[in-house]
Amino acid sequence: MTTIEVDHASRWYGNVVAVNDVTMDVGPGVTGLLGPNGAGKSTLLHMMSGFLAPSIGAVRVGGRPAWHDHELYRGVGLVPERDAVYGYLTGRQLALASARLHGLPRPEDAARRALATVDLIEAQDRRVDTYSKGMRQRAKVAAALVHEPEVLLLDEPFNGMDPRQRLHMMDLVRRMGDEGRTVLFSSHILEEVERVAEHIQVIIAGRLAASGDFREIRRLMTDRPHVFTIRSSDDRRLATALIADASTAGVEVGTDGLRVRAADFGQFTWLVPRVARDLNIGLREVRPADESLESVFSYLVAQ
């Protein structure tokens, strides 16, 4: 069993702090590293994969410092975010090169096994630069899996994929976790993490904002106060009716509609259409005003 330990690690570039005093342990199973773009996910992942030294603190994989240790890669597979791979090689050549570079005793067998795992056997003799985005991603995963690593690190693995490719990759990531590997992937999309990860590490502005079981964090996210912008045929009458219910924490009447703070998300979204129908008020727009990941995360940080 291999764990990744991040121990009060920070990383800065000049005056910019990319990762700020993060401590986390990542164990077997699938862990999602969730955060908005620019939150420091890639920097953290690069420290875990030995490509970047922490400015202070420590990052260990299997108990050994990740930085300056090429032997680390005997037990670690890395799928980088950047799309660049050796496009002039075929999928099979790429996996085979990876197996040979790992010094595996039967590189051909290992390459075939890895390509079968990612379902790329049929296309294995095509050049990688003729692959779709999803196939290229799977080729990178095959090259990272060829030595059956205990730890698999994937940087934004679902980026740019179409829905079918995304589902396929999600299945693959889940399977890796079920096999007992320590799988960590970064994403800025909540739904991706929800569907694949058992554990979650939320990182925002370089800091660890939340950590633990996904369901618990999801509940926190759902239960937070939501703000809606509503435009209707009679804003004042609607405001009066909404504030009378306990699910509404506050209403502000403006020139371009209402700004409503809901205390109970489930009850409020049930209430609005019914109140409008009963009062014969036409709803022109009901829009969540603060659904950005940043605002969700800011709320989590405050908790």
């Binding site: 420091g40 953290l44 490509f51 090429h70 890395l78």
Partner: protein, 238 residues
């Protein structure tokens, strides 16, 4: 040296348009040599001028620059280098494999064409062809190490390499006699002068000094590049 890395690197080199550049320059040199030969201007003096000015001063650094950025710089820039860095292979071994390919390309596309162009012009006379071939070989190895080091040090390796070749080797070397003591081009010329018997070939740097400096620069640049590569950070996009 790792054969798999060398193989991938070599395939990458010829899979790109820059392979045409590698061919274009030596073909130009050989074309010029043929033209001079056919027009009756192919004496030892003329051969020396062509092989020194175009062969050693122009072709050799440009080929080394194209080769070094092709084997290493492009991969570092586009991120595909991560594939090699994430393998259990020490970074100096990765570097040496890349350097071996770069030097091999320099020999094939710079040193050999210089030898061939010399043979076309004057045959074996005065050892001019062999001398410049040997000089270009020694210079190609040193330039290979220098330009690979520049590619590890900076993302603007082509500009830095061109600036070095044009400003230091050509401009400063041309006007400041002392700078010629510290010029790969002049060291290569010393080797050529040492091998050739023709009075047309003349160098300013003593051959023992040139050989010593070539060795020091080649080994020093290789060791330094290996060390810098070991500490090369692949920064996240945050």
């Amino acid at each position: 040296m790792n054969g798999v890395i060398a193989g991938i690197t070599l395939r990458g080199m010829f899979g790109r348009r820059r392979a045409l550049l590698l061919l274009l320059l030596p073909l130009t040199l050989i074309g010029l040599a043929l033209a001079l030969r056919l027009t009756g201007h192919a004496g030892e003096e003329e051969a020396t001028v062509l092989l020194q000015r175009f062969g050693i001063a122009t072709l050799m650094p440009l080929i080394a620059l194209i080769a070094a950025s092709g084997v290493l710089g492009t991969e570092i820039d586009d991120g595909s280098f991560v594939f090699l860095l994430s393998k259990p292979i020490s970074r100096p071994v990765i570097l040496n494999s890349k350097l071996a390919v770069a030097v091999g390309l320099n020999v094939v596309f710079a040193a050999v064409p210089v030898l061939v162009a010399g043979l076309i012009m004057v045959g074996p006379d005065g050892g001019v062809a062999l001398g410049f071939g040997a000089g270009a070989l020694a210079g190609s190895i040193a330039y290979g190490a220098i330009f690979v080091l520049i590619n590890v040090l900076t993302r603007h390796a082509v500009v830095a390499g061109l600036a070095y070749a044009l400003i230091w080797e050509s401009l400063v070397g041309g006007f400041v006699p002392g700078a010629r003591q510290l010029s790969v081009e002049q060291w290569a010329l010393s080797v050529a002068d040492w091998v050739a018997t023709s009075p047309a070939v003349h160098a300013e740097v003593a051959v023992m000094a040139a050989l010593g400096l070539l060795a020091v620069v080649t080994v020093g640049a290789t060791v330094l590049a290996g060390q810098r590569l070991r500490s090369l950070s692949i920064a996240g996009e945050a």
